[in-house]
Amino acid sequence: MLGPQSNFVMYDEEFKRINTVIEKLLREANSKVIFLVDKNGQLITAVGETEHLDTTSLASLTAGNIAATGGLAKLIGEKEFSILFHEGEKDNLHISIVASRVILVVIFDSRSSLGLVRLRVKKASDELTVIFQDLAKKAEEMEKGGNAQSPFAEITDDDIDNLFS
């Protein structure tokens, strides 16, 4: 997997494959919203009824939540808690770690059930793991082949200054 300090890069092709998997999961798990978050709190993608949701805040809090429970896990000698479940009056949150690197969040209500969500998430996680492995491989190859040139390689000091004007 990617090292802790390498940049996390998402390409068009994998982005589409990821969205296909989570859109299928959205339907099959009868859920309302699904989103994927990097462990550092960056939102990768979101599908479903996202119009009224502050997905940026959700992403950052989810990552904080996973980080805090991960810290708890280590204190009691566990590697991590790979699944978290939060039950609300109407909506529930199912949070799981995929490929040790990203966080999959499923929001669902009484039209679905925890059992169904768990079952479908398991299958989707396997598919997502393959995609993230491909993505890691691709990034590695790009780096080896010297193609890892950042889109920012050619920016000038003026470009940077313009951002703040």
Partner: protein
């Protein structure tokens, strides 16, 4: 560790404000939040105690504009400054792209500053980062107060690496945006070089 998304043409970077308890990290973020165009900012989240001490973190997403067709977004985080929240501080440093050290310039907080900076170094090293290599700026906050340590002395103790540093008063906003711009610029220069 920034996140470059070619699909949505976005780049996301994480900035962490570090420093001893009550030095003004949250106040920095609050000022940035107040003075930013509503289109450019998201909601500010503060996970704080009932007495408004930061418990876990504050979070503020900012969109700066486009560079070469990529939307640049900065996620600003603060850590809880109080000594006993060290476990939480470590978590927030994960995946950081740039650090702002907010020092409390008051004489009586000099030791707390030094201790916090030492703690920052240790916690970064645990994550595999070297403070001397990552984008880093220092802010001497509360410079409007009467009982402050002379700036030369602060500089000698808290900024031996001679990184960009700024005198500030976060409550009035003096130096707040200068600090933020400086660290954002260092991060972008780092990206230009091809990442950390």
């Amino acid at each position: 560790m920034s996140f470059i998304n070619y699909a949505s043409r976005e780049i996301n970077c994480k900035i962490v404000y570090y420093g001893p308890g009550l030095c003004g990290k949250t106040t920095n973020l609050q000022y940035v939040y107040q003075k930013t165009d509503p289109d450019a900012k998201g909601k500010m989240i503060s996970l704080a105690t009932e007495t408004e001490r930061t418990l876990f973190f504050d979070f503020l997403p900012l969109a700066l504009g486009e560079i070469r067709g990529f939307k640049t977004r900065f996620h600003l985080y603060t850590v809880p400054g109080q000594v006993f929240y060290d476990a939480s501080r470590k978590l927030i440093l994960k995946g950081v792209d740039g650090v702002v050290f907010v020092a409390d310039s008051q004489e009586e907080r000099l030791d707390a500053n030094i201790e916090s900076l030492e703690n920052l170094k240790i916690n970064l090293e645990e994550q595999g980062y070297d403070l001397e290599k990552i984008p880093f700026v220092v802010q001497y906050n509360k410079c409007d107060l009467p009982n402050i340590t002379p700036i030369e002395e602060l500089r000698k103790l808290l900024n031996p690496g001679n990184v960009p540093d700024y005198e500030a008063c976060a409550t009035t906003g003096e130096g707040v945006f200068e600090t933020l711009k400086a660290v954002a610029k260092l991060i972008l220069i780092d990206l230009k070089k091809g990442g950390a």
